[in-house]
Homo-oligomer: 435 residues x 2
């Protein structure tokens, strides 16, 4: 708090002269051509021949993309720095130095063979909002921070570092690029030795807003302009081990087998049945499976598989898991196998702020856009930022809901809509008493 408040104080001295009341800007719009041109230019860094990008956190492509984004931030009259965690911070002073900043942003790193919209839309959108404010000499009460988080695709690492959620021992785990997070922080210009100092506290931000593509295809299917995100779902992971008995697949009669893969097949069907038998938007996935010893002619004696359950409501996830365990016990009984569940990760749901949700919804409708409230099934930096203050998320349609793929695509007009909702929501938030 002290360090940041001090910096913001420095900027506010020169900023006062530019002050205009933000509530007087209902017609202000982003430059739609520019935001889409910036997206196209960013797509060059880590571009793949088959389309899309591979811009893994800490890679050369990531560094090039960050350099490009920092250039845009300076054009948008932001004061650019790298925080201790390696995130890019672009600051614009507010008129009231005592207020914590309003933060907007996203990420520009990608998954291997990813697309050009996940993270990029929110990052270029946030910079465009700052540029629009600068061009129109709009001075906010709150200072503004545009944050481009590092390594979102590796598990919201940049935002976890500042929200204090990442245990220090995880710094030595390798990221997708092969470099450890510790090495990555150094490469990006942060300082992993000052791990504890990178953290911000609750109340250090006035609010956080993130614009992002909706990766599920609901807005696209229903032809809705703007998604008002209810929250980011909680995600629980288990490693499930099924023990049967490996035996000769030719000589062991069918009724004498303890086939771990047959049990696994029944389990995968049961997971699907449990998850789809309840009303709601909860999801469940079995994405990994290994059968041992793994030969044409040996009955699988052991299977290890992954189970993932997601919902906005932790109690619902727990209830689904309870039903799945009951099904597993019955499958174990009928197949002569044993099931073991080991929870390997838990992330709790993060709800968006009810006032911000309402504000996004009204703002979008005010500029003639249709809206829908929906959960985010994917994790986002916003879920970490929710530990520091109220958050809101704005979704724009992604064609076919395709994501983490070169085929990921959002229409230019939808991106411009998202940018305008972000801008106008920010202007209104600036007038509100948020605490």
């Amino acid at each position: 708090m002290n360090r940041r408040a001090f910096n913001l104080g420095l900027f506010s001295a020169v900023a006062v002269t530019l002050l205009k009341p933000s509530q007087a800007q209902p017609k202000l719009r982003v430059n739609g051509g520019r935001i889409n041109a910036h997206l196209a230019a960013l797509s060059e860094f880590g571009k793949n021949p088959q389309g899309g990008v591979t811009r893994l956190a800490y890679s050369e492509a990531d560094l090039q993309g960050r350099k490009y984004a920092m250039g845009l931030m300076r054009e948008a009259k932001l004061e650019v720095s790298i925080d201790l965690a390696g995130n890019i911070v672009g600051r614009r002073a507010g008129s009231e130095a005592a207020l914590p900043p309003l933060v907007i942003g996203s990420h520009i790193d990608s998954v291997p063979e990813g697309g050009n919209y996940d993270g990029d839309v929110g990052s270029m959108g946030a910079i465009e909002v700052a540029q629009t404010l600068a061009e129109n000499n709009v001075k906010l009460r709150h200072s503004l921070e545009v944050l481009i988080f590092q390594n979102e695709e590796g598990g919201t690492i940049g935002s976890q570092l500042i929200s204090g959620e990442l245990p220090e021992k995880q710094l030595d785990l390798p990221a997708n690029s092969g470099k450890t997070i510790r090495e990555g922080i150094k490469i990006l210009g942060g300082d992993p030795t000052r791990f504890a100092e990178a953290r911000r506290k609750r109340g250090d931000i006035a609010a956080y807003l993130e614009l992002h593509i909706e990766q599920g295809g609901i807005l696209d299917t229903e032809k809705i302009n703007i998604g008002v995100v209810e929250g980011i779902v909680g995600i629980m992971h288990w490693e499930v081990t099924i023990e049967g008995f490996a035996n000769h697949a030719g000589t062991t009669p069918m009724n004498k087998r303890r086939d771990a893969l047959l049990a696994a097949a029944k389990f995968i069907e049961a997971v699907n049945r449990v998850v789809t038998s309840i009303p709601g938007r909860q999801v469940g996935n079995v994405g990994k499976i290994q059968a041992l010893p793994g030969a044409y002619n040996v009955i699988p004696g052991k299977v290890v598989l992954s189970l993932e359950l997601r919902d906005l409501d932790s109690a619902k996830v727990e209830a689904m898991f309870g039903k799945i365990r009951v099904e597993a016990a019955s499958i174990a009984e009928s197949t002569g196998t044993l099931f073991d569940f080991k929870q390997t990760s838990v992330s709790y749901p993060a709800l968006t702020d009810e006032r911000i949700r309402r504000l996004i919804d009204e703002t979008a409708k005010g500029i003639g856009l249709s809206t829908k409230q929906l959960p985010s099934g994917a994790g986002h930096d916003a879920q970490e930022m929710a530990r520091l203050g109220p958050v809101g998320m704005i979704f724009v349609p992604s064609v076919g809901g395709i994501s983490h793929s070169p085929r990921e695509f959002s229409r230019p007009e939808d991106i411009v809509n998202g940018g305008n909702v972000l801008l106008q929501t920010l202007l209104k938030l600036d007038t509100m008493r948020l605490r």
Copy 2:
């Protein structure tokens, strides 16, 4: 034929004086203590600390085991040589030089971390039969060959080489020991450059008898002394590829998924249902599975799995496969996936000779043993030898049907019973006109 007939002729000159009519030996029995002592001694070569052996074809342990077996063969007054394929051949001349030999044998190589009975019982049993004949000065009409086949566990390689089933290009494939078959043949004392000459022709043998443990546990469960093998099942393998669509496991609604692993789960259940819904001893196995891309948070877009079907009747295997394809088409329809089947190997069923089956059955009952006719679900060298002449197989119980495991165990008394049935069946076969 010519080469072997010539050799047999040489021996028959001295053999005539020893001739006794074999039908006059109904009380002849093997030395039960000796056969089990030889089995125990053989178990030292490649012995594992946790029990059982790893005696991979072409390894040092294999060479030591073969040296031990050849020593026993010489003690049994057999003329020992290595054929061009690297199999060990022990010959005892018969009284009628024009007759092709009666062949008995098995193998002594093991799978990795295998047991002390699979192959060993038949090999030590065959040598014991020869020793018993020698000690009792029994001269057969046919010459006798004790054959210890090389690399049975790598796919009945030694017997395929002499039956002409192995394509020459397969000589360069690596065996379990890491050495190629070509290198292995050389190491064992064969000659891979004389590939074609190693082959024998149909009619080159009068008959082949193999004693083996029953690897399925039926005899053990039903407390039956001797299994009369109806034939060796045909084995068909397919690689099954299921194409769905990989997508984000958090954001894709459950009813929008094309989950290849859910389709695979339904398929694995369908295979089990089809195979178990028909009366009979047919078996089916899905032993290998891979889901791609294979992550907690990605819906599997592709699954590759193995399908194996076995039965004594090829038509039944084809019929089961037809039903499985119908089920797959229905699963593809309901899950939005595509199934592709690629046949990766075919081995046709090999039936044992009906006269030899009856002879084994009568012989066993004649010495007070219970019998049961059953198929062999596992492959054996006998299936290759069936291309050269009539074959028969004698099974003895294996406790719990456990095989290819250090826990493989057959009781000493069951092994002795098997040795006696092999001896007496051989004596009776020798009196028969087999063609």
